[in-house]
Subunit: 343 residues, 2 copies
DNA sequence: CTGAAAGCGCTTACAG
DNA sequence: CTGAAAGCGCTTACAG
């Protein structure tokens, strides 16, 4: 934790009997330096193992080539992939990424935002925590000259750039697919309704039912079933109903879908014959369960790239969209055995 | 990408007819400020929406509460978990994390290191890329006053703090377990031998054979089988040998173990009766394949925490260890059906 | 307890 | 093409 004297442009200047400004110009490849001195300066810089101090440089230039990212968890497939996508682009641009995890806690999210605004990052990219209630911590970010981009889980009311999956469309497709496979009583495992994504997925479910003239059966909608354990618990209740469902749309995640599959298997219920199952996110394991689970791919790496490109003005928000500051990433329904009743 | 005028301590000072130094002292909770002015300053700071400029503060203080992390890929379970663990600790300490991914490319890794040294981070945490050959880019980091901590995949020769899994011990346990289950011809899928971790895993395999007086059969050792596809390919070759193995230790990853399982299933070979399989890493899916796969848990989140604690002097390198700058994280053999031949 | 000044390491108009 | 000076926004000895 100790620090040490490092060579500065003054050290180079002194050694060459030059002024620091010339050294700076040379190292920044400004035009106003003679070839001879430029070479000398580079040579000496190398000799003295000079490294620019970005802190000083950024302070002077009045900007900070750094972007902050706040996610609920780094080690969750979806977020890890989005971050990887963002990094891919920002790296090319010479920008750095500061990563914070809110651990699904709003209080901690507020602190993360504070750290990042203190750092004077040029952009904050955020997906809000599960206990999201209030967007006031995001409100004066822009006034500080910091760009704000929300993705996936967003504060709807806030007028910022947003990159979203079309959750409603994807859910509608998934449920429609199940209806077309002949499932009649499709249950929904829903997530916390304070999060836009879970509201949208529910909306897609309702829209699909409506479109096909199927009445909603309230007892088939299970609240807060967004982990494997909660998914399993909800499933047990559902399958013990006098009139149980013949399919379950685990709109919260593939993990809850896995909970569904495990309970069904345990109870000797055949999938997909007696029970159809659809998850959400296309986690790696959905491909290798037996049967393999139908799910929705969110194109998360691409999503990350789009977010970063948006910042660098290399992607544009949707034109003609009701909310013109939004980019919709089209998710993809991945049909597998767990919903394929008709061969 | 535009920036805007932000309030500084001078704005606060001017408004209160104070000197900037008093404002700075107050905001930093230094003792030498009267309660009255302190309160005034905090109130005004809030009114003017003041945010400290960490760039200036760090430049002046001569340090940077930032730690850089370089990993091959962010969106790989093991690394995502290690990063999550690191972040957990650094967050508590008020440090920021700058994340870079080398994408398994040495050239890009060198660039990442340069960015981080320019940033004057106080510590660099790295796991080297797959095409690691040369550690010269890591050599003069310390001389710049930057702490260097290597983990998992490390440059052996370099005298730095290291946090490692005891790959050799874990592999030896795994192979020993297979031998005790009655497997006689145990094949090894090995990874690139320029990486320490794969050399160690192989060493563990060899040690276990030796300990039990089993001769090494060279044709059962398959090089470079470190993806699902390569694992599958190697398995096909192995199982088509005149004298095929009765077990396969996929020391490279659970993904290659999955490749093994898929080929075995396809060829109608029973696991674990005719073929034992052991993977490495305890990926989530190993629990839900059928049969579930025996594997090794690397305690990756804990590993991340240990790395960060090491930096903050809250963890100590092993005493009495041949290399006293190393912390060994004890991995854990997770025994599941895929190797349980004796019930 | 408060102020005035110097300096962290750079960049950038302004002269010449 | 090169130099001298000012300033980015802070912090911190040094006075008083």
């Amino acid at each position: 934790m100790k620090s040490q004297k490092r060579t500065t442009i003054y050290d180079i200047a002194k050694k060459l009997n030059l002024n620091a400004s010339s050294v700076s110009r040379a190292l920044n490849n400004s035009s106003n330096v003679s070839e001879a001195t430029r070479e000398l300066i580079f040579k000496t810089a190398k000799e003295l193992n000079y490294k620019q101090n970005s802190l000083a440089s950024n302070l002077r230039k009045g900007h900070n080539q750094t972007i902050g990212v706040v996610v609920p968890r780094i080690n969750q497939n979806f977020f890890a992939n989005v971050i990887a996508g963002i990094e891919e682009i920002t790296y090319q641009k010479g920008y750095n990424l500061i990563i914070c995890q809110s651990n699904e806690s709003h209080a901690r999210e507020v602190k993360c935002i504070n750290t990042l605004t203190n750092q004077h990052v040029s952009c904050i990219i955020i997906s809000v925590s599960a206990d999201f209630e209030d967007d006031s911590h995001l409100k004066n970010i822009k006034e500080q000259g910091i760009q704000l981009i929300q993705f996936d889980r967003v504060a709807d009311q806030l007028d910022t750039l947003k990159v979203l999956n079309d959750n409603e469309q994807a859910s509608m497709e998934a449920v429609t697919h199940m209806i077309e496979q002949g499932y009649q009583r499709i249950a929904l495992l829903e997530g916390p309704q304070n999060l836009n994504i879970f509201r949208q997925r529910k909306a897609g479910y309702l829209a699909a039912l409506k479109k096909h003239g199927i009445a909603l059966i309230p007892e088939l909608v299970m609240e807060n079933a967004w982990t494997k354990e909660l998914g399993a618990e909800a499933t047990r209740k559902l399958l013990n109903l006098p009139n149980p469902p013949d399919a379950i749309f685990a709109s919260t995640s593939d993990f809850s879908a896995l909970g569904v599959l495990e309970i069904a298997t345990k109870m000797g219920i055949r999938v997909p014959e007696d029970l159809g199952i659809c998850g959400y996110s296309n986690e790696a394991f959905t491909e290798i369960t037996s049967p393999a689970i139908t799910t929705i791919d969110q194109h998360s790496v691409q999503m990350g790239k789009t977010i970063a490109k948006l910042y660098f003005d290399e992607a544009q928000p949707n034109e003609g969209n009701p909310s013109a500051n939004t980019v919709n990433i089209q998710p993809e329904l991945i049909i597998r055995e767990s919903t394929l009743r008709k061969k």
